[in-house]
């Protein structure tokens, strides 16, 4: 089974702190994603990476950065946390994009990190 793990389930930080959220996958997937989930808004893509050291902005990258130094690990960084970044953060991974087949469109999600910024 694919396993995607996130370093913390719950996190409380103060405004202005630098925050690191870590995600590790064990299936040698090329693609990794960071989303935030807010009530009534669904999941919104922050950043994704399709290879080591490669990254691409998603829909809401402002206030975030990412790092992918190893294939299995994808980190989300909040340079200076703000209260509007209080949210559930979800990491996902998937095999390299294909147009069809059993893995098409399938992403494997971690359990999420609920971040509260005070």
């Amino acid at each position: 089974d694919v396993k995607v793990t996130q370093s913390s389930r719950y996190l409380v930080k103060r405004t202005g702190e630098k925050v690191f959220l870590e995600c590790v996958q064990d299936m040698d997937h090329e693609n990794m994603f960071w989303y935030r989930q807010d009530p009534g808004l669904g999941l919104r893509l922050i950043y994704f990476s399709y290879d080591v050291k490669m990254k691409e902005k998603g829909d809401i990258p402002e206030g975030y950065s990412v790092s992918r130094e190893k294939k299995e690990r994808f980190s989300l960084i909040l340079e200076s946390a703000s209260t509007n970044q209080t949210s559930m953060y979800l990491c996902a991974s998937s095999p390299l994009g294909v147009t069809s087949g059993s893995t098409h469109g399938t992403q494997y999600f971690g359990p999420g990190t609920r971040l509260l910024v005070l």
């Binding site: 999941l43 979800l90 469109g105 992403q107």
Partner: protein
């Protein structure tokens, strides 16, 4: 651009009655569509997917969805709800391949409540 609209933010059914969760899509090309489910305090899980093969797609736990191009819909159904079906359900469309990634666009979610 590809998008999905989930028509109900909350749906409540009695156990043993049918479930209908509605989703409309907008796409400039033939889309791939998915339903994901998120149980409380658990990660999202793929329920089923449509990728231009059969228009009626069967998923896990007795759920199915029908792709209707004329109505631009991909509604999720189940003949008989079970208490364990209580969860949040997301309708999802692929954006296509960019930079090798298979990015997804999620709907805003439908919270399904199942009552005794």
């Amino acid at each position: 651009a590809q998008s999905v609209t989930q028509l109900d933010s909350h749906v409540s059914v009695s156990e043993g009655t049918p479930v209908l969760l509605r989703c409309n899509y907008s796409s400039s090309y033939s889309p791939s569509l998915f339903w994901y489910v998120q149980h409380p305090n658990k990660g999202l899980q793929l329920l089923l997917k449509y990728t231009s093969a059969a228009t009626l797609v069967k998923g896990i736990n007795g759920f199915e969805a029908e792709f209707k191009k004329s109505e631009t819909s991909f509604h999720l159904t189940k003949p008989s709800a079970h208490m364990s079906d209580a969860a949040e359900y997301f309708c999802v469309v692929t954006r296509g391949l960019t930079g090798g990634g298979n990015k997804l666009t999620f709907g805003t979610g439908t919270q399904l409540k199942v009552e005794l």
